[in-house]
Symmetry: D2
Subunit: 293 residues, 4 copies
C-alpha cells in the first residue's frame, strides 16, 4: 500500500518503521526533518509537506500531540487535505478530542476523502515491537481496506464503530483507566511508606495479584520514583484526562475519579513535573502525606 506518515515522534517513528518493514511504500513528513533520517535510510521517501506526504497515497497517518496540531497539518500551508486524493483516507492515531474527530470527519467528507481513527495503546517500546493495540472506527469499507496497515503496527486490531470519534472515546477512557492505576499506586504507596512498611514488597504482591504488565511496569517506576526520561509526558496525561472528562460531560456523565486525577495532575504541574512521566502523579500523594517535601 502507498502510505503517507506525518508526525515522527517516538511513537510515530516506530509505527512508520513497522509499516516499512511490512513492505508498504512510505512517504514521511516531520516538521523537524532530522527525525525522518532513520526512516529514509530504511527506504522511506521524505516529503516536503503534509500535502506532499498525502499525494497519491492510499492512506496518510498522523501521529501528533493534540487537536491543534492535527488541525494545522490538515489545513495549514501545503496541508494534508490539499494533497489527499478523492477516496483516500486520513488515518488519525493522535489522541484527540471526540469533537475534533467529528469535525475532521465532516471536513474530509466534504472534501471527498475519509477520516478514520486508529488510536493505539502501548508505550514506545511496544510500538517498536509491533505490540500495539489498534482501536479503529470509521467507514466500514475503508477500515477493512486498511487492515494490513493495522496488522503491520499492532498485535491486535479492534473495530469499534462506524464513527471515528468512537475510537477516540475508547482511547481516552483507556488512558483514564491507566491514569487511575497510577494514582492508586501513589495513594497506597504514600500510606504504606508512612506506616514504615516496605512499598516495594507491596508492589510485588500487587504484581502477582493483578498479573498485569501495566501494574508491574508502572508500579515499579513509581516505587523507584523513576520518572525521567518520560515515556509519556505528564502534561499529555493531563490533556487526555481533560478530554475524557469533556467527552463524559457531553453525555452528562460524571467521572469523579477523572476529576480527582485531573486535580492531581494540576498540582504536579504546579510542582514543575510537566516533562516527567505521567506516573509522577504519585509524587502528589507523597507530598500530601508529608513525604518527599
Amino acid at each position: 500500500m502507498k502510505i503517507g506518515f506525518v508526525g515522527l515522534g517516538k511513537m510515530g517513528s516506530a509505527m512508520a518503521q513497522n509499516l516499512l518493514r511490512a513492505g508498504h511504500e512510505l512517504s514521511v513528513y516531520n516538521r523537524s526533518r532530522g527525525k525522518a533520517e532513520p526512516l529514509i535510510q530504511q527506504g522511506a521517501r521524505v516529503a516536503d509537506s503534509p500535502a506532499d506526504a498525502a499525494r497519491h497515497s492510499e492512506a496518510v497517518f498522523t501521529m501528533l500531540p493534540d487537536d491543534h496540531a492535527v488541525e494545522e497539518v490538515m489545513f495549514g500551508h501545503d496541508g494534508l487535505l490539499a494533497g489527499l486524493d478523492q477516496g483516500a483516507a486520513h488515518v488519525s492515531s493522535s489522541t484527540i478530542s471526540i469533537n475534533a474527530a467529528r469535525r475532521f470527519t465532516e471536513e474530509h467528507s466534504q472534501h471527498g476523502s475519509r477520516f478514520v481513527t486508529a488510536a493505539v495503546f502501548g508505550r514506545p517500546q511496544a510500538a517498536e515491537a509491533k505490540q500495539l493495540l489498534v482501536v479503529t472506527a470509521g467507514d466500514q469499507q475503508t477500515v477493512e481496506r486498511l487492515g494490513p496497515a493495522f496488522d503491520a503496527i499492532g498485535r491486535r486490531t479492534f473495530v469499534v464503530g462506524n464513527e471515528p470519534w468512537q475510537a477516540n472515546m475508547f482511547k481516552l477512557f483507556g488512558n483514564f483507566m491507566i491514569a487511575t492505576v497510577l494514582e492508586t499506586f501513589g495513594e497506597a504507596f504514600a500510606a504504606i511508606r508512612s506506616s514504615g512498611a516496605d512499598h516495594h514488597q507491596f508492589l510485588e504482591i500487587m504484581g502477582e495479584l493483578f498479573g498485569s504488565p501495566v501494574y508491574k511496569n508502572y508500579g515499579k517506576a513509581i516505587a523507584d520514583e523513576n520518572f525521567s526520561p518520560a515515556g509519556f509526558e505528564l502534561k499529555l496525561g493531563l490533556k487526555d484526562v481533560r478530554l475524557a472528562l469533556e467527552a463524559a460531560a457531553e453525555f452528562n456523565s460524571p467521572l469523579p475519579i477523572g476529576s480527582l486525577v485531573r486535580d492531581h495532575f494540576l498540582s504536579a504541574l504546579a510542582h514543575n513535573q510537566e516533562k516527567l512521566d505521567w506516573s509522577s502523579i504519585a509524587l502528589v500523594s507523597a507530598r500530601s502525606a508529608g513525604l518527599n517535601d
Copy 2:
C-alpha cells in the same frame, strides 16, 4: 501438623479442605455446625468450641468476617485463648483492622502464645484451587514453622514483616486497589453507555490492555450487571475500604480515591445493595449518569 480451624464460610471451608488434603490433622469449628459436615467426611475432627479446636493444636486458623467476630472467638465462652497451648500460634486470615491486629498480638504475647496474620487474596474459587496469595507477618520463627500450612492453601506466600498488623495493612490496601478497579469500570462504562457506544467492546480492549484476570473477571461481571450471588458482599467491601482509610489516617496519609469509593459504597447501601457483590458499586455511577434509574 495438628491444626485447628475456626470459621467455615466459603473461604474458610476451601482453605480447611486444602489443609486436610495436604495431610494435616484438622479440628474444625463453626458456629452453625452444618458447615463442618463436608470436612468431617473428609476426615476432620469436629470441635465443640474454639477452645476445643485450639487444644493441642500447633496452630489454629481463624477466618471470620471482622474484628468483633475474632474478638468473640478469642475471648468468648470456651474461647480460643482458653484452649491454646503455650507457644502455639493463632493464625488470623480474617480481614481485620490494624489496631485489632496489634491488640490481639499483645494479648497472645501475654498469654504465652503467638498471633500471626496470614491474610489471603483470592475469591472462593481460587481458594478451592489452592491459588490464594498468602500475605503473612509475625514472629519470624513461627512464620517459618507455618510455611507448610501456607503452602497447602496458596500458590505463593509473601512474608512482609515481624509485626502481624503489617500483613493486615497490605491486605487492606490490596482490597483498596481492587475496589478502585471496580469503581473505574463503573465510571467508564457509564460514560461509554451514555455515548451510545458498546461497553462490552471497551471491556474486551481493557482485558487485552491490562492483561489481568482481575480486570477481565470483574469487568465482565460489571458489564453484565451480574452481581448475585455475591463472591464478596458489598458491605464487606465497604468495611475493608473503611479500614484502609482508618489505617492511612493513623499515619496522617490522605486516601482520596478511598474516600470516594467509600462514599459510593454508602450510596450503594442506600439502594439496598448490601448483599450484592461489591462490584455492584458500578451501579452508583450508572445511576449518577441517569442510567438504570
Copy 3:
C-alpha cells in the same frame, strides 16, 4: 451619560431600568424585541442592532449568557464593534471565561475602543432593587468615568484591577463559593433527613449561625425543594463552575470542591434538571442517599 444596553433578560432588564431611572439616555437592543417594550415605555430608545445601540454611546453594556453570545454580538452582522465610537467603552456584565475577556480586550484595543468588565453579584430581585455588587476591572480612567453608571445599578462597586479578566475571575470564584454552599446544604440535609431529624430546624440554626441571606434564602429553597421557576438556571451554574475550573487550571491550581460540584451538576443534567434553579444540585445528594428516588 448616553448608554447602549444589549441583552434584556431578567438581569439585563432590571439593570437597564435602573440606568434609565438614574437619568441616563438609553438605547436598548434584544434579539427578541418584546423584552424591550417595558423599557421603551419608560423612555428608552429601541435599537435595530448591537451596532445601532452602540452608535454615539459613551458606553454599551452587554448582559448575555456566555462567551459565544458576546462574540456574536461583537462581531456578528451589525455587531457592536461596527457601531462603537473610538474611545467609547464596551462594558461586559456577562459571566464569561477569562480567556474570552482577554481576547475581547485585545480586539477592542485594536479597534480603538475599551473593553471593561463589570460583573455583578445578585439575583434578579437584587438587580431590581439596585442592590447588586459590581465588580469591575479595566483601564483605570475608563472605569472611573463609568462610576455613575455603576452607582445606578448596584449598592457597591469594587475596582479589582486594570485588566478586565481579573473581574471575571472574581465573579467566577464568587459563584464557585455560592455553588459550594448549595452543595453542602444538599449533603447535610440528605444526612439529616436520613437520620429522621428535621432539616428545616437545622436550616434555622444555620441561618442564625452564618447570619447570611445567601444561606437563609438558598437554604430555604433547598429545604422546600422549591427549584422552579429558576432564579439562575442549573446549566448556567455548571457553565460558571466549569469556567472557574478552567481559570484555576490555567494557573495550575487544583479546585477539588469545584470538581465535585461540577460532577454533581452533570448528574443533575442527566436527571433533566437543566431548567431548574442551580440550587437543585441538592437533589443529587438526596438521590445518592436513597431519598427522592
Copy 4:
C-alpha cells in the same frame, strides 16, 4: 439552680462564668485545678471530683474534648454518675459522637438520672459575651427545666428533639458546614493568588456578598495566614468532620465534601498543623498549587 460544671477549658470557663453571673450556685471541677481559680474568686465552689461536682446539683454540665473524656468523667474513679442524684441531669456540651450520646443516654436512664445534650456554636469570645447558640435535645420536661441555664450562656436556644443524639448530629453537621467554608476559601484563594490577583480584595467582596461574620472572620484569618493561637485546634476539627462522616454513614448517606475535607485535614496533620487553628486547612490548598512550599 444548683449546677455542677466539669471541664474548664476556654469554652467551659466562659460558660461557667455566665452561669455564675446569672445567679446560679456553681460547683466546678477541672482535672488541673488551676483553671478553677478565677471562678472560685467569683464565688464558685471547687469540687474534688466529678462526683463531688454532681452531688446535690440539679444539673451538671460537661464541656470536654471527646467521647473518651466524657466516659472517663462519668465512670472513672469518683465519677459523675456516682454523685448524681436520681432525677438530676447531666448536660453534655461536648462535641461527641452520636453513638456515645446514645450510650450515655441509656446509662443515665438505668441510673435514674437524665442525659441531655446542649451543644453550643460559637468561639470562646462568643461564649464570654453570652452569644452562643445552644442546640439542645433530650427529655422534654428536663430540657424545659434547664431553660434558665441555657439562657444564661447563649443568645438563643434551639430544642431539636427528644433524643439527645439529635442535638449532637446538628452540632456535627454545623461544624461540617463551617469546615467547608474554610476549605472553599483555601481553594479560591490559592487560585486567585496563583493568578496574581489580590485575594484580600476577593475576601472583601465575599464579605459583602455573604454578609456573614463566619465568612468575614475566618476569611480574614485565612487571607492573613493567622492561624495561631488556635481558636479551635485543627485536630479537633478533624475529629468533628470524622464524627459527621460516621454519623452520615450510619444512615447510608454519603458526604463527599466531608470526605474531601477529612483528607485535607489529614494532609495538614502530616505537615504538623495539629495545634494550628482548623482554618489552616487552607494551607493544604496553597501547597497543592505550589504556593507556600
